[in-house]
């Protein structure tokens, strides 16, 4: 029997076995789902939603017919339902900026010392990964009269409204 190179062969077999077991351990211990990918998408969606409200609020008059303050001032104070949209113009403007994104818009304001939140635009029920962008607008009696809204503010008072845009992707 030829006994040459037996250790050589055994050591090569041992090295190969060691590498196979190592690769198996590495594969089993590695994370398959990387969390930063999901969070990166959330951050991007929040930035897009923030930008949508900012653009509508701060764009010059030549860009939009009505800015965010005027659109909010023109609200008829009727809460939206999935069938009835109480601010179609705002809905259209936001819809142009948020493509392939589902959103709701709520108005939060102070009434008799407490916060009141009402739906202005309702497209669905937000999912777990939805993001919220907020923007404040200040309403005066003159702005509301000009916009034809139903807000009840005296001529010597001011109303601060927080516009909440809840957005998510399906």
């Amino acid at each position: 029997m030829n006994e040459k190179a037996q250790i050589h062969t055994l050591e090569g077999f041992f090295a190969a076995s060691l590498m196979i077991f190592t690769v198996m351990i590495v594969i089993k211990s590695s994370l398959i789902i990387t969390p930063q990918t999901e969070l990166t998408m959330d951050v991007q969606l929040k930035q897009t939603a923030d930008d949508a409200l900012s653009v509508l609020d701060m764009a010059p008059e030549t860009a939009f017919q009505f800015n965010l303050t005027e659109l909010v001032a023109g609200w008829n104070m009727m809460e939206a339902t999935p069938q009835v949209n109480s601010l179609p113009v705002l809905d259209a403007e936001i819809g142009k900026q948020l493509k392939n994104v589902i959103y709701n818009i709520d108005f939060a304001y102070v009434e008799n010392g407490t916060i009141t939140v009402k739906h202005a635009i309702l497209h669905g029920i937000p999912i777990e990964n939805s993001v919220v962008a907020t923007r404040l607008v200040t309403l005066y009696n003159s702005t509301i009269t000009q916009a034809g809204g139903a807000w009840n503010i005296s001529s010597s008072d001011v109303k601060v409204v927080e516009v909440r845009l809840v957005a998510w992707r399906v």
Partner: protein
């Protein structure tokens, strides 16, 4: 059997196999740590309220200018001075801001520090406000925030 024990060939293969295996384990550990680090670094933009602070100051500046104009207009219809009308408007604004921000876990306080009037028409030219924000983690104060009405 003595021949097998004395044969020293192939030792480099075994050693290099061990080295490569240990390197693979190290790389796997580093990749796992990178995933955890990425989680915390992605959440960092959510934590610091830069947008909220920017919004408070921008909204207050815009509202101060509108309130000054309204206060001057109200002066012609009621017995209150321009400063008194302005202080009431700003007080209402500050109270509502505080209530709205309280829902998000923060407090906002805006008060009038000083007003400089136009000697010709008694309108407000410059207003000095004290703006402060605190959400328990971040505290911001702009004291004074000087707003010129002519801009």
């Amino acid at each position: 059997m003595a021949g097998v024990i004395d044969d020293e060939g192939g030792q480099w293969i075994a050693l290099s196999g061990l080295t490569i295996s240990l390197s693979l384990v190290l790389v796997a550990a580093l990749i796992n740590q990178a995933a955890v680090t990425g989680y915390y670094s992605s959440y960092a933009p959510f934590e610091f309220p830069a947008e909220r602070i920017r919004e408070i100051t921008a909204q207050t500046q815009e509202n101060a200018k509108s309130a000054a104009q309204l206060a001057w207009a109200l002066n012609h219809t009621n017995n209150e001075t321009v400063l008194s009308n302005f202080t009431k408007l700003l007080g209402s604004y500050s109270s509502q801001m505080n209530t709205i921000y309280a829902v998000h876990g923060g407090t906002v306080n805006i008060t009038v520090s000083k007003a400089v009037f136009n000697s010709t028409n008694n309108n407000i030219d410059t207003i000095w406000l004290n703006i402060s924000y605190n959400d328990g983690t971040t505290r911001y104060a702009s004291e004074p925030e000087i707003i010129e009405m002519k801009q």
